[in-house]
Assembly symmetry: C3
Homo-oligomer: 154 residues x 3
């Protein structure tokens, strides 16, 4: 018998939360693209200054840092610092056969915390607000990692 199967409601909850986070990370890349196009700035590489469909009027200043674009890149980096660890912790946690209510609370709690973090960061709320949602997401992943270790080793 395997726990990593959609017949297991814990795994089904993991799949929903993990797939939502897949969409979150991938759409963050597109937010950077949209912001680069709108600002016509914040390009990453020297060759992006070649005239073409994406850049009709090249200007060396387009390679300068641009907070509107960099904010999306910082959001993306923050995602990468948290979400891949969630994907792995979640699958390990599922394999440890936890209570369904606990798994659902942690999985969906993480999704909600990251959504709130996104909204706080994108709308430039104070550091305290963003830090609160970051902390909730981070503590959920740390809890799952510790729970798994305890379960296997103790």
């Amino acid at each position: 018998m395997t726990l990593l199967n959609l017949d297991n409601p814990v795994f089904a909850a993991y799949v929903v939360a993990a797939a939502l986070m897949v969409l979150k990370v991938m759409l963050q890349g597109w937010m950077t693209v949209v912001r680069m196009m709108k600002a016509n700035a914040g390009w990453a590489s020297p060759e992006d200054l070649r005239k073409g469909l994406i850049n009709r009027a090249p200007d060396p200043a387009q390679l300068d840092p641009n907070d509107y674009v960099d904010r999306s890149r910082r959001l993306h980096r923050n995602d990468l610092e948290n979400i891949p660890a969630f994907w792995t912790a979640g699958i390990l946690f599922t394999a440890a056969d936890p209570a369904l209510w606990l798994a659902q609370s942690l999985f969906y709690g993480f999704v909600l915390a990251r959504l709130a973090h996104f909204l706080a960061y994108a709308t430039q709320r104070s550091h305290e607000v963003r830090a609160t949602f970051y902390s909730i997401g981070s503590l959920i992943v740390i809890y799952m990692g510790a729970h798994v270790l305890w379960n296997v080793l103790v």
Copy 2:
């Protein structure tokens, strides 16, 4: 019965694509190392200016940004923005028991798109070329995430 098993041809296709992407990401790190050694520049930390086997003639300018080295770091960052999400989306997609032809097309399509993105970026092709291959890879991962959600929730 489990779908996450090499007896399942969808999982076998996932394993091949995911392992190729593991090698891609890890070799990107070595490309940065090789470029740092060849350029003798683009070092990341103050202590890298200590004289030693890696750095025989230290010079503070070695800590300055260097496009030859940074290009490999940007490739690496772009990998990290796409490939871990592919690893997770692929395993979720496999658990959703898709048609084999569809799974193989998406898994190998992603590998080919990322390979083409690498070649376009490494050889400084125009932004349009690189963006096309980035988009193909990204849309494949987004499709897999959406397919999984649809499959579980609808």
Copy 3:
């Protein structure tokens, strides 16, 4: 029968190593937070200069690069370049049903190499020391990726 189950001692070893790496990555984020608070510098976003609980005496210089804080961010980036690939390579390797002694050596060897890399980087050891531990970890992941491909394709 599934190999991705705690009854399989290879999977149990994977779970322990992967969970330790989950904790490593997440705690790296908190090391950055602690260093930002202690240095009262190295903040990432313009809105972090607003007066509040986290920042009682804002000063524009707090947005300047700060090596004490950036060192933790570089450690984090190095983790992201290596650990998610380990998480995936490890699960693929487990599915390839390797010998237990080999799996344990690679999984725990990776954990020890990354711990040594952390200590070398955090205490500013020479580039050669840090590079040695980076290389050990990287070669372990590359070996697992190649082993899996060989196993499935040959």
